[in-house]
Amino acid sequence: MVSVAVTGKGGTGKTILSALLVKFASKTGKRVLAVDADPDSNLPEALGVEPEKTLGEVRELFQMSRDDMVSHDKEVWLEGKLMEVIYEADSYDLLVMGRPEGAGCYCYTNNLLKSILRKFMSHYDAIIIDTEAGLEHFSRQTIKDVDYLLVVTDASMKGFRTAERIRDLVKELNLDFRGIFLVANKINDMAKKVIEDYANEHKFDLIAILPFDEKLAELDLRGVPVVKLNGESELVNRVEEISGMIFG
């Protein structure tokens, strides 16, 4: 099992990169799980699917109905609900995390979910997690046990700063990843050099420079799922390379 979380500043292309990684990883016959960990969920749209339920809803349902469970086993109950939430696409499964927990104590619920998710996820070859912009989710469960962190940035100072902060936070929280990689996105020729210099100077492992893609921008604007992007394009080829590097 190899898992990767896609992080970075808002609007840099995390969701699009995640969706394309799901597409390429599942093309090779691997068992793929896509996880939408952004409460403002839009990975399903990028993938062109419509899952109905979220894990967040299950969590709330559990908080509400647990008093009436009498002698039902709560872990078994939660596991069954998790399985109902999983959306089966043709070649991969999708889990939408939904909104984060509300007020109240989720210690026990999250403790149960942690062990359920650990068992469940262990059966996939590739797990791709699309995260919400910013750093908040680092304190949450999902991101702690992943193998690789992809940090997406565009050609902006803000994107770089977020990347640096993510790397600092990882150190601070003592998170142990097998690798943290920088992915530069929407880059034109002019910006290429700047990005490379920046990565060098700040000792970032820059694994890909993705160009701005007119066709993709157009698809997105017309509301067509980005995974429908076909034909040869530099963007597609580069993402396929990333997929190969990470998932083999």
Partner: protein, 488 residues
């Protein structure tokens, strides 16, 4: 018996996708259930398997079928109470089988069998049943004999499900009528010690955890599955105080786990050695000396309670794993307990709760108290609350006779006579002590806790000889007050 599939805990949690599925049993579209019942040893033929209805190799690929799994178990140590504990393990053991996904429990079971398992030679439910029975006997050695009947015939599943439903209901009934005195062990939970290091949750049949998530049954199940985990049995030891719910075992445990921070806990008491709170509680109880009653407010209610404080303000004072007299954090399901703060009068001491909370637990409030407990619609401050309680003749007004033992624990409000004017001095708190020797200790004690605001008006009223004390910015801690008339 050789099985054409692997058996290992490694396979737990594996999803069998629709496209890999040979058949589905039970689940969203078909009836299904699993049941374990105990029997006498001579009634059981060990490892016998009976199938009623079509077997796997007679099923059509891609379809869903009804499914019942009924096990009968026997052994010296097998007793009725173990049935649900054993039944729960069917889920675990069947998920050890590669290519067999078992979800949910009781009448909700949902099974998928994978195509690849069938390709490898799985062709009969007998193979599944034999493997499961073998696991039962290996992992739970107190099971000496076991037999299994699996049913895939629609009519037969439905017929037997009806009988099974009765058994589940009886079990739930037994669960609800299981009390602290019926068990030897309570369970602890230390999940929250990371942020409330001295907090120890004690979970008993009559007291759900204060976060509302863990019942005694959950604690027992968790402790069985993961003895190193956050839930451990607490041998309850000797009974110290039956009504308060104090046990030597719990006290020792509390002392040890809190690092000596406190050494006594009474599970069903509000004032004396109350359970600690880690801040996770669903509801907080607060004592209002002015009416000598207890109010409760839940996390979802943002407005201030009649004492002028909001849930979060009170929670801030009470969380952190300390015993704070005058406040108590509980789980909503504790309102269902027949021992609900019984030492301090239970429902008879309860004077206020938000409407939404009251509605949620309505059916568990004793009928004669239902209309006597105010909500924000009846009272949002102490004056209104006082009026309301008087109007409905709440037990706190006349004095509470405790249900458990018929003892009168509070004297009630002593009729107020003309209230003497207190000079309104800035930041001054006026306290009137009158010649009235029988000041009920229950009323006094919480009021004089350090940091507590003494409440002037409600002290027992006199008939003559008023002494007026004006205290400025005072913290008072008084063990005993003796007020006597000077002898002539």
């Amino acid at each position: 018996m050789e099985f054409p599939f692997e058996i290992s805990p490694m396979y737990e949690g594996e999803r069998i996708r629709k496209s890999d599925m040979y058949v589905e049993l039970g689940g969203p579209t078909q009836p299904g259930f699993e049941l374990v019942v105990s029997a006498n040893k001579d009634e059981i033929e060990d490892m016998k398997f009976t199938l009623i209805g079509p077997d796997l190799n007679e099923m059509e690929e891609g379809k869903a079928y009804p499914y019942a799994m009924i096990y009968r178990i026997a052994g010296e140590l097998v007793e009725k109470d173990l049935e649900p504990v054993v039944e729960r393990r069917n889920h675990d053991f069947q998920n050890y089988i590669a290519g067999y996904m078992h979800l949910n429990q009781r009448y909700d079971i949902w099974i998928r069998i994978s195509k690849s398992a069938v390709q490898k030679g799985l062709n009969s439910l007998e193979q599944i049943a034999k493997a499961t029975m073998m696991l039962f006997k290996n992992e739970l050695p107190f099971i000496e004999k076991i037999e299994a009947t699996y049913v895939t015939d629609q009519a037969e599943v439905e017929k037997r499900l009806e009988e099974a439903m009765k058994i589940y209901e009886e079990r739930d009934e037994r669960t609800l009528t299981l009390h602290d005195e019926d068990v030897d062990d309570f369970y602890s939970c230390t999940l929250c010690q990371s942020f409330a290091p001295t907090n120890v949750c004690v979970i008993s049949p009559d007291r759900v955890s204060l976060c509302g998530a863990i019942t005694w049954f959950d604690g027992r199940a968790a402790a069985k599955v993961d003895p190193e985990g956050p839930n451990a049995p607490i041998p309850k030891g000797e009974l110290v105080d039956e009504i308060g719910g104090e046990y030597t075992g719990v006290n020792e445990f509390a002392k040890e786990r809190s690092g000596g921070e406190y050494d006594r806990i009474k599970l069903h008491s509000f004032f004396e050695f109350p359970h600690t709170s880690c801040g996770c509680f669903e509801v907080i109880g607060f004592y209002m000396p002015e009416v000598d009653g207890i109010g409760w407010v839940h996390r979802g209610y943002d407005a201030p309670a009649p004492n002028g404080l909001t849930f979060s303000t009170m929670a801030g004072q009470t969380g952190g794993g300390k015993q704070v007299v005058g406040f108590l954090g509980i789980g909503i399901a504790y309102f269902r307990s027949p021992k609900f703060i019984q030492a301090d009068g239970g429902w008879k001491r309860t004077v206020w709760m938000p409407k939404s909370l009251k509605e949620r637990i309505q059916e568990f409030i004793p009928e004669d108290m239902r209309d006597k407990i105010a909500t924000e619609e009846d009272a949002s401050n102490l004056d209104e609350l006082k009026e309301f309680l008087k109007k409905v003749n709440h037990p706190v007004v006349t004095g509470i006779i405790r249900d458990v033992d018929g003892i009168k624990i509070t004297d009630g409000w002593i009729e107020e006579e003309e209230v003497t004017e207190v000079t309104p001095e800035e930041e001054a708190q006026a306290l009137q002590i009158r010649e009235q020797p029988q000041i009920p200790s229950m009323q006094i004690q919480p009021m004089y806790q350090p940091g507590y605001q003494p409440a002037p008006q409600m002290l027992p009223a006199p008939s003559s000889g008023v002494i007026k004390l004006v205290l400025k910015n005072a913290k008072i801690n008084i063990e005993k007050i003796i007020v006597s008339k000077e002898k002539d």
